[in-house]
Symmetry: C2
Subunit: 452 residues, 2 copies
C-alpha cells in the first residue's frame, strides 16, 4: 500500500511548531485506523512524538492500526523505557504478535522493563503453539462473580472497561477461574431496572467454548456457526484462560483461506502479503515444491521411454499425450479443490468419505463419458480406422475417472493421517495423473491398435 501523504506537510509543520492543540485535534478527529494511515509517511521518531498527544487508550489504538513494519520500527528505535510502557498497555494478543517480529536483542532489553504482570502474560501467551486458540486469544476479558447484584456489576464493568477490548460479553467465573456462565452487556443493561438481581440468576449457563489447544480453523468454524462476538477459551478443567474476538476471527478465516489457496497451488504459505514477502523467500517457497514436482515429473519420461517402440510404429499417438494427461489433471484439480474446500469449511468430514467416493465415481463416469464422445469424434479424424479410434474414449474416460478418484481420495487420506489436506496440492495430483494417464494411454493403444 502506498502511504497516504495528504496531511504529511501539515503534520510536520505542527510538529515543528509544537502545535499542541492541532496535534491533539489530529489524534482525536478521525477513526484511529484513519489517523494511523495519515501517519504512515512519518519517521518512527515523528510518529512517536505525534502519538504522545493522544491519551493512552487512543494512543494504543492508533499504534495498533499502524502497519506492522512501522510498529516494529518504532519499538526498535524509541527509548526502551517508553516502549516498555506502551507494550504493557497493548492488548495481550497483539503485543505477543508484535514482539515475535521485533529484533530478539531489542526484546531482551525491553522485557525487564515491562511490568511484571504483563511480562508473565507475554511469556504465557508466547508458549502456545502457532495457529491454536491459545495463540490467538487475548487474556483480558470482562469478569464478574455469580453473587454480584446487577447494580454493582455495572459499576464493576465500568472499572474494568478501560483495559478491555470488548465489554459486550461478560464472563462469570468462580474463585478458581472456572467458567460458570455468560451475561451479555445488553442483558445487564436491560436488568438495570432491578439492581438487586444477582448475576447468577441472569446468566446463561450453556456456553459455547473452545479448548486452548484447538486449531484456529475449528475456532473460526464455531464462531461462524453460532454467530458469536467472542468465544471463551478454556483448558481441560474448564478454567477460563481468555477470549477470541470477532475481529481476530475474520483475520483467521482470511489467513486460513489464503493458506489453503497457496498449498493447493504448491506454494509454501506466506507469512505476509505478496509484495511484502522478500523475493528470495518467495522464490524459495515456490522452488522447493517446483523441484519436488519436477523430480516427480521425470517419472513420466521414464514411463514414456518404456513405450518408445510403440510410439515409433504409431507416430500419431504422440499428438494426444498432452490432451489426455491435461484433461485427467484438470478433473483431478477440480476434485481436490472441491474436497479441500469442503473439509476446511466443515461441509464434509472424514466420515463422509464413502459418499464422496460414490459421487466422484459417478461424476467421473459422466464427465469421462461425455469428453470421451468428443474425443472419439476427434480421434476418428486422425486414426486409421474407426476401431482404432475407440481408444480415444476409453483412454479419456479412464483418465477422467482416475482424476476424480485420486483428486478426492488423496486429500481425504492426508486429512486421515493428520496432515493438512491442502498439501495434496493440485500440481501433485496432476503429476500423479500425468504418470498414470500415460500408462493407461499406452496400454489402451497397444490393446486396440496391436502395433508391430
Amino acid at each position: 500500500m502506498i502511504p497516504n501523504t495528504l496531511y504529511l506537510p501539515e503534520l510536520r509543520e505542527m510538529l515543528a511548531e509544537q502545535d499542541e492543540s492541532g496535534l491533539r485535534e489530529f489524534c482525536t478527529a478521525l477513526h484511529p485506523a484513519r489517523t494511523a494511515e495519515f501517519m504512515e509517511g512519518l519517521t518512527a521518531e515523528e510518529a512517536w512524538t505525534v502519538l504522545q498527544y493522544a491519551e493512552v487508550p487512543l494512543r494504543v489504538e492508533i499504534f495498533g492500526f499502524s502497519e506492522e513494519e512501522k510498529q516494529v520500527e518504532i519499538v526498535e528505535t524509541i527509548d526502551r523505557a517508553e516502549i516498555a510502557r506502551l507494550i504493557g498497555d497493548l492488548p495481550p494478543d497483539d503485543r505477543v504478535d508484535l514482539l515475535a517480529e521485533v529484533d530478539p536483542q531489542v526484546v531482551e532489553e525491553l522485557m525487564p522493563l515491562v511490568p511484571a504482570e504483563e511480562r508473565r502474560d507475554i511469556q504465557r501467551l508466547s508458549a502456545y503453539p502457532e495457529d491454536t486458540a491459545g495463540a490467538v486469544m487475548t487474556t483480558e476479558f470482562a469478569r464478574l462473580s455469580e453473587d454480584l447484584p446487577v447494580g454493582r456489576a455495572v459499576e464493576e464493568i465500568g472499572r474494568q472497561a478501560e483495559e478491555l477490548e470488548t465489554v459486550y460479553y461478560l464472563y462469570i467465573v468462580d474463585d478458581e477461574d472456572h467458567l460458570r456462565g455468560l451475561v451479555s452487556f445488553r442483558q445487564l443493561v436491560s436488568a438495570m431496572g432491578k439492581p438487586d438481581t444477582v448475576i447468577g440468576d441472569l446468566m446463561e449457563r450453556d456456553i459455547v467454548t473452545v479448548d486452548v489447544k484447538d486449531d484456529q480453523e475449528d475456532v473460526a468454524q464455531k464462531v461462524a456457526r453460532y454467530d458469536l462476538l467472542a468465544i471463551p477459551v478454556v483448558d481441560d478443567e474448564h478454567h477460563m484462560l481468555g477470549i477470541i474476538t470477532h475481529d481476530d476471527i475474520i483475520d483467521v478465516v482470511r489467513e486460513e483461506a489464503a493458506e489453503d489457496a497457496y498449498r493447493i497451488a504448491a506454494v509454501e504459505p506466506l507469512d505476509e502479503g505478496y509484495l511484502k514477502t522478500r523475493l528470495f523467500t518467495l522464490t524459495w517457497k515456490r522452488g522447493i515444491w517446483l523441484t519436488i514436482l519436477f523430480l516427480g515429473a521425470m517419472l513420466t519420461a521414464l514411463a514414456l521411454d518404456e513405450y518408445q517402440a510403440v510410439i515409433k510404429s504409431i507416430p500419431w499417438l504422440v499428438l494426444f499425450i498432452p490432451l489426455v494427461i491435461s484433461t485427467g489433471g484438470n478433473t483431478g484439480n477440480q476434485s481436490a479443490t472441491l474436497i479441500i474446500t469442503a473439509l476446511s469449511t466443515g461441509n464434509i468430514t472424514l466420515g463422509d468419505w464413502w459418499r464422496v467416493v460414490q459421487r466422484e465415481l459417478i461424476m467421473g463416469l459422466l464427465l469421462g463419458g461425455f469428453l470421451g464422445i468428443i474425443g472419439y469424434l476427434c480421434a476418428a479424424l486422425a486414426a486409421p480406422s474407426l476401431l482404432a479410434a475407440a481408444g480415444g474414449p476409453i483412454t479419456l474416460g479412464l483418465g477422467v475417472v482416475c482424476g476424480t478418484l485420486l483428486g478426492s481420495l488423496l486429500p481425504l487420506l492426508f486429512s486421515r493421517l493428520g496432515l493438512d489436506p491442502a498439501m495434496m496440492s493440485n500440481p501433485f495430483v496432476a503429476g500423479l495423473i500425468d504418470l498414470i494417464g500415460i500408462i493407461i494411454y499406452m496400454k489402451v493403444a497397444i490393446a486396440v491398435l496391436h502395433p508391430g
Copy 2:
C-alpha cells in the same frame, strides 16, 4: 451433517404428552443454535409445534439457526398465516435470503399475508443485485437523534432493542435519515453519569461507511481493516439504509474465499456445500469448464502435428514433453494463485502491475535457471551430445519464465477488464502454457539439434 438424534425420543414423548413445562425448558436451556441442532430430526410439523413453546424472539433465533432445508420445509408446509407472522419477525436480511429458496408459488401466497411494512422492506431488499452491500445488509439498526439527552437515549434504545440484531453501535440520523454520527453502546453507558449530555456531543463524526452498491468483498475488507462490529450502508446522498454485522461479514469472507478456490480450479462456484449440491448440478459446473479446456487442449495436438517430422528424426524428444509442459504449468499455477489471492485480500491493486511483473520475471529467471541446471544433468544422460543437452536448460528456463509472466499477467488483465481475476483459472493458464511450451520446446530442439 448427520442430524443430532440424542434428544429425539424425549422430544417426541414431550410432544405426545403436550408437556408444556418440559418443552419450554427445552427451548430455553441451551444456546439457540444447539436447540436447533437437537431439533433437526423432527418433521416440519413437529418442529413448528416445539417452536410454539418459545417466546417470539427466541423462536425466531432457533428458527434462524436451523438448517436451510428445514426452514424451507417449515415455510412451505405450515399454515400460511402463521408463517407470514414468523416472516414478519425474522431479521430483514435473513428473510430475504430464505424467501429466495422457497417455492415461488408459496411466496406468492404468503406475501399478501405479511404485514405491509415488512412486505415493502422485503421488496426493497430483494431488488439489490447479488453480492452487493445492499443484498447483505439488514435494515434494522439502533437509531437516535442528535439532540437527545443521554438519559432519554438509554430509554429509547431499551424500546428499540427487542427488534434489533445488535445494539452495540447506535447510529445518529437526522430527520431525513442522513447519517450524522455514531455512538457505541459502551460510550452511552459510560455517559450515564451525566444524563443531560446530548448525543450530538458524544458521537463520533468520522464514520467508516460503505455504499449500497459496493461489492461485498470490498465491504469485508473494510470491516477487517477497521475491526468493526458492524458497518453502516449509505446511498449516494449519505442516507443511512442499513448495517452489515460481523457475523454476516464472516460468512462473506468464507463465501468469497471458496468462490475464488473453485474458480481457480475451473469449477463454477457452488451455491451450497459439496454434499448438498445436486450431483447433476455439480457435474454441469465442472463439465462446462472441462469441455472448454479440452477443446483448447486440442490445439496442443495440432501444434505437435506440425513437428511430426522432427519427432520422427529424434524420437527421444517425446520423453520430455510432459516434463517441460508440466513444469511451466506448475509455475504458472503458483503465480496465478499468488496474484489472485493478493488481489482479493487487497494486498496488491492493479496499480502494482509493474512491480508484480518485475518480481515475477526475476523469480522466473531464478526458478527457471535452477530447474534448468537439473534439467541439463538429466538431458545429458539421454541426449547424444553435451551440446544437444543444452536444449534442456534453455527450454525449461523459457517455460518457467513464460509460466510466471502469463500466470501473473492474465489475472491482472482480467481484473483490469472488470472480470473476476480468478476466472483466469489455473487449468486455463496451464493449458496456454502447454501450447506455448510445446512450441518453445520444438523450436529450441530444431535450433540446437538441427534434425535431418
